[in-house]
Amino acid sequence: MTRLGTTELLVSYSQLAAYNRSEEHPYSDWTDEHVGQGFAWREGSVSFGTLGDVRSLVELELDERLPEPAADAVRVIVVPFRADGSGIAVSSILSETLAAELPAGLYELQFEAFEPAGDGDGPGRYRLAFAPAESPAARIVRQDEELDPPAELVLAAEAAV
């Protein structure tokens, strides 16, 4: 496992986005189906729904294979990701940005969400892990009660511009 970076950032508008740094408009519009499945995906950018709008620890890593989800992760989602070689960035709305290098290629990106500490006041914690994959596929590995995914996951979203 290669740790690409770790930071604390403030989550706002209940979303955390991972995207190629070349994306001019990384944040996407959300439909009710996106909310239900916990993510809004398009090529080069994915926004994950979060467990609260609180300061959160974000861990970013690169693995040979996707790691086993942590036992205490309440939400685990895997999506395809095509890195264009411009680097990867993770941020929320008007937050700090965690940036790292990521070689161009096809990956699976695993998002793990952990319940915020205290009474939901935080801090929260999210782990994002990339692993190279020849045929990446979206799936919900573990869902909490907030998710209500459609029968078929929606892999289309529009930039919010």
């Binding site: 403030l10 508008y13 209940s14 009710d32 909310v35 008007l94």
Partner: protein, 143 residues
């Protein structure tokens, strides 16, 4: 007569300066109390737009002075005692990442898809602005 000549001279000089310094309009906006205006697309995010419009009508600021460092403390104040609600996000106006946000901000439950889209739009519009920039929000209809 000499006053008229002086007047036209002044106009000509201002026109020349405007051509020389096209950013002069920004200074005009700064004099008005803000650095830039963004036009919020009400029709795309009507429920968040409704909240922003109502909050401003109630006397909250239409101007957001970007203050990322103060956002955490502002949110703790603005959302204190307001529980989460499934299917809804707690929308704050002024936003927590504005210097004008925090205690006393107006909070409304807004369906998550509308509010997250609105937040994404705001993020795409404002991410490049530095802390301290004053952004005026104006509702845009029919866009």
């Amino acid at each position: 007569m000499w006053k008229r000549k002086l007047g036209w001279g002044l106009v000509a000089m201002l026109a020349f300066m405007a051509a020389l310094f096209p950013g002069a309009s920004v200074r005009t906006e700064a004099a008005a109390g803000y650095d830039a205006v963004i036009y919020f697309p009400f029709d795309r995010y009507p429920l968040t737009g409704d909240h922003i419009r109502d909050a401003i009508a109630d006397g909250h600021s239409a101007i957001c002075t970007i203050d990322r460092a103060g956002a955490d403390a502002n949110r703790k104040e603005s959302l204190k005692g307001i529980p989460t609600k499934s299917g809804y996000d707690r929308d704050e106006w002024p936003m927590a990442m504005c210097d004008e946000g925090g205690a006393g901000a107006d909070v409304r439950y807004v369906p998550s898809s509308d509010n997250r889209g609105a937040g994404a739009w705001v993020g795409n519009q404002l991410s490049s602005y530095a802390n301290g920039k004053r952004i005026k929000f104006v509702m845009s209809y029919g866009s």
